[in-house]
Every structure is written in structure tokens, then in C-alpha cells.
């Protein structure tokens, strides 16, 4: 049986790869919808509100935020681990990136709700 840290490492790599492939699709959609098909390259304030109020758009953007946060924090953790940390430091890094990722997602949900509910 594989050691526990090796299974975790394998899971981390798998999660990074799967979220990365998902990001190629979600980020592509995000860039096209927000920048390349929009006159002027960026939506104005009112255009952003009109756009994000569509339930499908809000859902896809939130899924995008979850996936990109997960991928970014897992990648940051891998880079920090490979600097040669000890076990205690690794645990703190894992906790730190988990909290940071959760804060990013919570902030995104709050921002989306705030914008959708604006008059």
C-alpha cells in the first residue's frame, strides 16, 4: 500500500490536472465573454450588472471562481512545498492556502450577491 503522503501527493497532482483542464474551458469562456466580444474590451458598470444578473452567467462565473481558486492555491502549495519545508511548516502552508482559497470564494459569492441585488 502506498504511503499516506504519496496518496495525497497523487491526489493533489490529479486535482491540479483536472482543475487545469476545466480552467482552459472556463477561462476561455470568461475571456471571450468579458473581453473579446465586448465593444471597448471591458464591460461598463451597467453592462456588468446586466450580465451578472443572468442566473446561468452568475453560476458559471462562481464555478469558475471555485475552480481557479482551487487550482491557484494547490499550485501555490506545491511551489512552497518544493522549497523544502518540514512537516509542521507544510501543515501550516496547507492551512494557510485553504483559508486563503475559502476567503477568495466567499468574497466572490458576496460580490456576486451584492451586484445582483443592486438596484
Amino acid at each position: 500500500m502506498e504511503p499516506r503522503n504519496q496518496r495525497r501527493g497523487g491526489l493533489g497532482w490529479f486535482g491540479q490536472a483536472v482543475s487545469g483542464v476545466l480552467l482552459l474551458i472556463l477561462l476561455g469562456l470568461h475571456m471571450i465573454a468579458h473581453h473579446f466580444v465586448v465593444e471597448g474590451g471591458l464591460r461598463t458598470y451597467q453592462d456588468v450588472l446586466n450580465y451578472i444578473r443572468q442566473p446561468l452567467v452568475a453560476t458559471v462565473e462562481l464555478i469558475f471562481l471555485v475552480v481557479v481558486s482551487f487550482h491557484a492555491m494547490l499550485g501555490l502549495r506545491a511551489v512552497l512545498f518544493d522549497l523544502g519545508l518540514n512537516t509542521v511548516q507544510e501543515k501550516w502552508v496547507t492551512r494557510g492556502v485553504t483559508i486563503l482559497g475559502m476567503v477568495m470564494v466567499a468574497y466572490g459569492i458576496w460580490l456576486t450577491i451584492t451586484l445582483v441585488s443592486q438596484v
Binding site: G9, W13, A17, L24, G41, L42, S69, A72, G84
Partner: protein, 142 residues
């Protein structure tokens, strides 16, 4: 994953080489005896770190939306500055480089197209340049 140091293994991803000796990130940029695959690994990590920083900045900038039309539309006007547009192209280069190279790493790590990894690097490199040229054209046309 291509090795940075062929004798070491990533601690985050056991079985994958690339772990650096303690606090020696500068070794990513050591020029001697580096293969094309290793440069791909270094590019992926540097671009990834840059994209994490950009993600944070992007989320902070979006908070301007909570301040109403004046605050956000002023930023939109500023973002049409040619320097901002150039930075957009740099950002897109980072996204394309990280995305396509990450795809290559994921395929090789899954045992797919391992024998063709150098050819894949060249094909994805060419695809990346083409995509970047199209994106840069769209950015400056807008």
C-alpha cells in the same frame, strides 16, 4: 513533470521530479545543463505565481463595482491606456503559456503521448504563439 534537479522529487507531488533544494529558488534560473522540458517546468511555475498575484489584483479591482458607476467606469477608462493594453498582452501570454504547458504536463504525467513530448512542446509552442498573436490583435483593435 520535467526535472529541475534530476536527483530530487517534488514533495507535493510524489513521483514527479522537480523539487528544489531548500530555499534555492534561484536554481530555477540556472542556465547550465537545462533541457527544454526543464525550462517548460520553470516557465509553468513562474507564470503560475504571476497568475496567482494577478488573480488577487483582479478580485480587488472588481470591488470597485460596489462603489457604483463612477468608480468602476473610471477604471474602465484607465484600462484603455496603451500601457494597460500591453500589460493585458503580457497577462494573456502568461495564461496561454501556463495553460498549454500545463496541459502538456498533465498529459505526460498521465502517461499520454509520453514518447511525443518534445514534438508536443513544439506544437503547443507554435499554437501558443498563434493564439497570442490573435489575442494581441484583438486587444489593440478594441
Amino acid at each position: 513533470m520535467p526535472p529541475v534537479d534530476s536527483t530530487s522529487e517534488s514533495k507535493a507531488y510524489p513521483g514527479q521530479s522537480g523539487r528544489l533544494p531548500r530555499r534555492q529558488v534561484w536554481r530555477w534560473f540556472a542556465f547550465a545543463k537545462r533541457s527544454l522540458g526543464t525550462w517548460g517546468f520553470v516557465l509553468n511555475r513562474v507564470a503560475g505565481l504571476g497568475l496567482v498575484v494577478y488573480l488577487m489584483l483582479h478580485l480587488v479591482v472588481l470591488s470597485l463595482l460596489t462603489r457604483g458607476p463612477d468608480g468602476y467606469n473610471a477604471f474602465v477608462a484607465l484600462a484603455h491606456n496603451p500601457i494597460f493594453l500591453l500589460l493585458d498582452v503580457v497577462l494573456i501570454a502568461g495564461i496561454i503559456g501556463h495553460g498549454l504547458n500545463g496541459l502538456r504536463v498533465a498529459l505526460i504525467g498521465s502517461g499520454i503521448l509520453v514518447r511525443w513530448q518534445h514534438q508536443m512542446l513544439i506544437v503547443l509552442g507554435v499554437l501558443g504563439v498563434v493564439l497570442l498573436a490573435i489575442a494581441a490583435f484583438l486587444v489593440f483593435r478594441i
